[in-house]
């Protein structure tokens, strides 16, 4: 070593536990989930040997070999072979194996060991191997492979010190052999390599009792053509009911807290510019968004549970038939489901899709999946216009049902758009679908809580930065110039006049001045639609005690027709109101062409959907 900090890459098959190990060693919080293709880019972190010498660790996307099938796997190859621009080649490798799947994982391991870099094998998921009735002999495995083998259980942080010690030793004692074009020489698609892998696995397996049957029994139900699909629907349905049923009390608490803070500021600061800014802009605006935190967390809890349990690939299996009909594959269902949280990670996750056209289509329809930023908008309008009662005398909430319907419209819209795109701009062969199905796992409570905490933090940070900023700017634009007595401040202000201009365009689809005002700032982040309306209403209500006491929903109820509210919801199902999504699409498609296309088609769809909804509702007398 030249004294520089050694760089060590974690590499292995998908879902072997590389990111879990990376997090355990570096204290990082990379996303971990129980399906292949979670990590899609290179991530670096710091750790240190027992004596305190620092090392740099790299977490990589899982791969089956150094011959990539999808963009994420190409990253792994490039990093390992030192082809990544501006990155030096790793000094050593930690090959992460799933102990319960040695037959298969040893193939890639053999290919990696043949590269000649100092290598240590982490025999991970030893607990699962034991659960499945396997007894392994790490020493024998080490002898067969010619490199140290360290048993680990990443999720319980077991074997970490031993792994680091072995790594230290390997860097010292295994000089990097010059590889005579070793890469690709022993590709895991070779029959002979597979035979060797199987022989080694057999030699290292001391005892093997038949696989536990319960996972098979679960799959017999969950993957049953009819029952399985009903279960999938039921899961989604329960998820949206829960968003309403469970969020009430904590949301009321937050709303109360915002009100108390407003009263407190009003009492503490004399009437002036600053007080209005805080009360009308920050507290009313940002507060109106923050009260939706409980609902967002409930949604995330469900998504995290689905991801951690291993259900995600089962859902992909069930949806493949439908996805195939529109020219996609079940693989694409996973990024789409992730887009329920946010389209940005969803679009990133498409890197695990092998077929380029399949991937492009999935990127283009990802914004149609209802992301959590839309939840505040939906929730506000639903709470204001849809009665809070059971459907037909049952306990099933009507509000949750409408929310479920909005999510479904997004999905159906996405599938129809995919169908059209695959026949026009993203034409290509039918996409394939080949995927490994992981075992079921009990979700780790620590990971779940950590995931929830991360999401809460991201949401609050958004509220405190981009949402607060846009809202304050909007408040300024709404407060000046000062309207003469008797005229509406909101309509008289700069923002109000701009909105009046826009209102001409959106009037045909039933939008009013309130909505026109919210549309432009909501480009920054969808939630701003809510904070913008809250701020505008707070300014309008200035000094009017009765109006101040009303919630935003109650005030909208008084001003909007149901047809307008429904049109507004329909607009938000489709409208591309999110700058980050546009930016990530530009990055992932290498250019402006596709993001522009996406924005264009989504606005058209949004306009049409809102219009059709409005006209239909008016025809039914809801205008």
């Amino acid at each position: 070593m030249t004294g520089a900090i050694p760089t060590i890459a974690l590499v292995g098959n998908p879902n072997a536990g590389k990111s879990s190990l990376f997090n355990a060693l570096t204290g990082a919080r990379q996303k971990i989930a129980n399906y292949p293709g979670v990590t899609v880019e290179r991530k670096a972190g710091h750790a240190s040997f027992a004596d305190g010498r620092p090392i740099s660790l790299i977490d990589l996307p899982g791969s089956y070999s150094l011959t990539p099938a999808s963009p994420d796997e190409a990253v792994t190859r490039d990093v390992i072979l030192g082809r990544q621009d501006g990155e030096k080649r790793p000094d050593a490798l930690v090959v992460v194996l799933d102990a319960a799947n040695l037959d298969n994982h040893l193939c890639f391991a053999l290919e990696l060991i043949a590269l000649g870099l100092p290598t240590v094998v982490a025999l991970n998921m030893l607990d699962l191997a034991t659960r499945d009735g396997l007894t392994l002999d790490p020493e024998r495995l080490s002898k067969e492979l010619g490199v140290p083998v360290v048993p680990t259980v990443a999720v319980r942080k077991r074997g970490l010190a031993e792994l680091l010690a072995a790594l230290d030793g390997a860097i010292r004692t295994q000089p990097a052999r010059t590889e005579a074009g070793a890469a690709g020489k022993a590709a895991p698609s070779d029959t002979s390599l597979h035979q060797r892998a199987r022989a080694i696995a057999r030699a290292a397996t001391l005892a093997e009792t038949p696989v536990r049957r319960w996972t098979q029994r679960v799959d017999a139900v969950v993957l049953h053509p009819v029952a399985g699909f009903l279960i999938l629907l039921a899961l989604m349905f329960v998820m949206f009911q829960a968003v309403y049923a469970w969020a009430g009390p904590p949301a009321d608490l937050l709303e109360g807290a915002v009100g108390v803070m407003q009263q407190w500021v009003i009492a503490a600061i004399p009437e002036n510019f600053l007080r209005d800014l805080v009360v009308e802009g920050l507290l009313a605006g940002v507060g109106a968004v923050v009260v939706f935190l409980p609902q967002i967390l409930i949604l995330f809890l469900f998504i995290l549970l689905l991801e951690a349990s291993g259900y995600m690939t089962r859902a992909a299996f069930l949806m493949d038939g439908l996805m195939a009909k529109v020219g996609l594959s079940g693989r694409g269902f996973i990024p789409l489901l992730s887009s329920f949280a946010c389209a940005v990670p969803g679009i990133m996750a498409t890197r695990a899709i092998p077929d380029a056209k399949d991937r492009l289509t999935t990127i283009l329809i990802a914004p149609l999946m209802t992301c959590s930023a839309r939840l505040p908008v939906y929730a506000l309008i639903i709470a204001a216009f849809i009665p809070d009662r059971g459907v037909g005398g049952t306990n099933i909430g009507l509000q949750g049902l409408v929310l479920f319907g909005l999510y479904l419209s997004g999905i159906v819209g996405a599938l129809l758009v995919a169908f059209a795109l695959r026949r026009t701009v993203a034409k290509g062969d039918a996409a394939g679908f080949m995927m490994e199905m992981p075992r079921y796992q009990m979700p780790q409570w620590r990971d779940l809580l950590l995931g929830l905490w991360q999401r809460a933090w991201i949401f609050l940070r958004r509220a405190g930065t981009i949402i607060a900023m846009t809202t304050v700017i909007l408040w300024l634009l709404l407060s000046f110039p000062k309207a003469p007595i008797g005229e509406s401040q909101v309509e008289y202000s700069v923002a109000g006049r701009i909105a009046s201009g826009l209102e001409v365009i959106v009037k045909p689809i039933g939008f009013n001045h309130d909505i026109a005002l919210a549309l432009i700032p909501a480009m920054a982040a969808r939630e701003v639609a809510v904070s913008a309306m809250a701020t505008a209403n707070a300014i309008d209500a200035d000094g009017d005690e009765d109006a101040m006491a009303q919630s935003l929903g109650e005030r909208l109820q008084g001003k909007w027709s149901i047809a307008t509210a429904l049109a507004f919801l329909a607009w938000f199902v489709f409208a591309p109101q999110c700058i980050s999504t546009i930016a990530i699409t530009r990055r992932e498609t290498n250019g402006w062409k596709w993001p522009m296309f996406m924005v264009g088609y989504l606005f058209l769809l949004a306009y049409a959907a809102a219009g059709i909804t409005y006209w239909t509702a008016v025809a039914f007398g809801l205008g």
Partner: protein, 88 residues
């Protein structure tokens, strides 16, 4: 007696007799082999299709579960597995 994996009954282990590598793309073939699907290997078809179509097919390959499409399964010829043959 060989049959195509595409039509093989669920829950019965079979041995892969032949794979028509020429009928598929290089990438497809490679991924199949990376999943351990190659001549001589025993697999068990476990689940087939959803309410939408007969696709896809979930297989047990050793301790691994993999999903492939019927189109690929139709390029894989299988015969009765060792154990089945003896009991027959």
């Amino acid at each position: 007696m060989t049959a195509l994996l595409d039509k093989a009954p669920l829950g019965v282990a079979v041995r892969i007799a032949r794979i028509d590598w020429n009928a598929m793309t290089d990438d497809e073939g490679r991924r199949l082999r990376e999943f351990g699907l190659m001549e001589g290997v025993e697999v068990t078809p476990l689940h087939r299709g959803s309410i939408f179509s007969r696709d896809p097919l979930a297989l047990a390959v050793g301790r691994m579960r993999v999903i492939i499409r019927a189109r690929q399964a139709a390029m894989i010829a299988v015969e009765a597995a060792e154990a089945e043959r003896q009991s027959a």
